[in-house]
Amino acid sequence: MATAVQSVERENYLNSNYGIKSWLLTSDHKRIAMLYLISITAMFWIGGFFAMLIRLELLTPAGDLVSSDTYNKLFTMHGIIMVFFFLIPSVPAVIGNFVIPLMIGAKDLAFPRINLLSWYIYMAGAITAIVAMVTGGVDTGWTFYTPFSTTYSNTHVIGAAIGIFIAGFSSIFTGLNFIVTIHRMRAPGMTWRRLPLFCWSNYAAALIMVLGTPVVAITLLLVALERAFNIGVFNPQLGGDPLLFQHLFWFYSHPAVYIMILPGMGVISEIIACFSRKRVFGYEFVALASIAIAVLGFLVWAHHMFVAGISVYAALVFSLLSYLVAIPSAVKVFNWTATLYKGSIRYETPMLYAFGFIGLFTVGGLTGVFLASLGIDVHVTDTYFVVAHFHYVMVGGMVMAYMAGLHFWWPKISGRMYPEAWAKLSALLVFVGFNTTFFPQFILGYMGSPRRYHAYPPEFQVLNVLSTAGASILAVGYVLPMIYFLWSLRYGELAPPNPWNAVGLEWMTPSPPPTHNFDETPIVTWEAYDYEHQPQEEVSVGH
């Protein structure tokens, strides 16, 4: 820890200037990342709070805690907030914003002011949605299916739809910025084959953001228009086809689930390599798998509509294509596992989360394979099986990866170390709590318990109680990091530039980095994850 002391006094992005204005008008990607960090954390608490109310309601079969209308609003707002305002911006807008320019040796993203604009747009969307929620809420489900959303719901659908519409542009601009940055701003020698896998996977996610988000934006706009002026585009009473809405919605929202996992996969690649001190096994395949997922992800959307009344032949095609998109994910999982082989493994908190990610994503992904099978999906669609599937990939996958990444880059971001023992405890709580919450839901789902049910038949109670119990453990697991991260800002040990002895340009600059990232533009002469030539730190047996 000899190097630790020098980093405090140095001018860095945090202390370069002070005052609220210097933050709200910044165009520094690192500060913008912090703005996102604060806002999406707030959204996560709101969404999590709704989740806890959902779980409490489901303790008993009768709908006794809240009214059915309230319940419907709860899961709708939980879904909307978690998906559009937390998970989609989570890894890209916070961690990606912070580390991508550092990783490629750039001074900033290609369009710093657009980056700031993205955050403002995000805030505008979030506030619009929250206002819609506070003034009455929405009860359409996060999927806004017509004609319920356009004709029968009497809640603030337009407000919520416009909120998401606005936030969509934030996502579009972030994606655009990432793509242009990764194409145009790489430091000398940082070829595509030397690009960290985190950049590859964010690049792939950004492709989806720019290609898919505009479609859902226009679709939600049509819903708002149809609702406001009673024009007929999707309304069956006016001759429209409600399934067209579903097609357009899922054209974005299926690929969007890969926006919600690809950046997380990137985090895992970095961490696995670092803590086993090895180049990621099959680097090219992992990189290409990201692109393959992004492209193939656009071909499978109607697997959400197998019982919706689409043509059976179309269902066949979409089922087949859904299997194809599962393969590149499998490739990644196997390559991560192979990376561990003959590595030199340390169990720091980020690595524990990464192990958790691989395991839970595998379960979540494989149950996605169940759903892609037509015969099975007919039985389990719209049941808790689906709920369990997507929480496994989204919470067990992406939220785990986000936590992993936060811990991994926290020393770089804050210049302080987090308390390792507490962090390990919370990782364990999250893992145990998560499985207790969501594994029972697979069983519930196959038994036929429908989702979005405020009250349910009594024979499903035991499993529901288990699930609620798990959710409480999970909540503790999430509250802990919140506390110790804040604590560490003040009391944490000072972080050296490269606490994990990792390879990567972001570790070659001080912690926290100076405003312009690098004193001079680095020139890259080594391959990605070149742990072979990275001097080894002395083995600390303590871990």
Partner: protein, 229 residues
């Protein structure tokens, strides 16, 4: 390159780029990425159009016969002319002639307003004939021998017509604003032959909006001249 040129260029170089070339290529690429998102944005509407037209062709034919082809064609021509003046305006910027550029951009804006004016006349026509979707929608072919076969789906045609042309018109309005902005900036000497990226990007945007109309025109106005029935 005159020295003042270089000064402007130096001034315009943002800190995080290595040089003007990187900056210029980056922002042009960014603009094209943005246009890609615009294509997908309109794409959702085109997809809806395709689906309904494939299913309710006759209703769409009857709806499109309410379009004033001559106004539509004139508007197409107006837009093409505006594209020409825009292209020439970018060229003037490229050659370092800010006055000429301003004049050409002014012409572009005039065409832009012309387009919106004509579109407004058309909108008015449809409005008074109740060809606006919603509770007041009412559709008649105007030919007693051939009553409307499927007014319900003709309404969908009109919904899409208003949505697509409305979104397009909205883009035009933004486009005019952007042209005005670079015109003023140009007159104030913001651009030089080595730095005119904003002009170029606004030009790209303008041409893109023109390009969308090139498809809207045949799809909405020219479905079939044959009379319904």
């Amino acid at each position: 390159m005159a020295t003042s040129d270089i000064q402007v260029a130096e001034h315009a170089l943002q800190h995080h780029f290595a040089d003007m070339e990187q900056q210029q290529e980056t922002s042009t690429f960014g603009m094209w990425m943005f246009l890609l998102t615009e294509i997908m944005f309109f794409g959702g509407l085109f997809c809806a159009y395709l689906v309904y037209r494939a299913s309710y062709y006759q209703a769409f034919v009857e709806g499109s016969q309410k379009m004033n082809i001559w106004l539509g064609a004139t508007n197409t021509a107006v837009l093409i002319c505006s594209s020409l003046s825009m292209a020439l305006g970018v060229r003037a910027a490229q050659m370092g002639k800010p006055k000429l550029m301003a004049i050409l951009l002014l012409i572009t804006m005039v065409f832009g307003f012309g387009f919106l004016g004509i579109k407004g006349i058309e909108y008015h026509e449809h409005w008074v004939h109740h060809e606006f979707p919603g509770p007041n929608f009412h559709f008649e072919t105007g030919d007693p021998a051939h009553p409307a076969t499927d007014p319900q789906h003709t309404q969908i045609y009109f919904s899409l017509y208003w949505a697509m042309t409305g979104l397009h018109a909205f883009h035009m309005i933004i486009g005019i604003g952007l042209v005005l902005w670079i015109m003023i900036a140009g007159l104030m000497g913001a651009f030089t032959p080595s730095y005119f990226t904003p002009v170029e990007n606004v030009g790209l945007y303008w041409h893109f909006v023109d390009l969308v109309w090139i498809y809207l025109f045949p799809l909405l106005y020219l479905i079939s001249k044959k009379h319904g029935g």
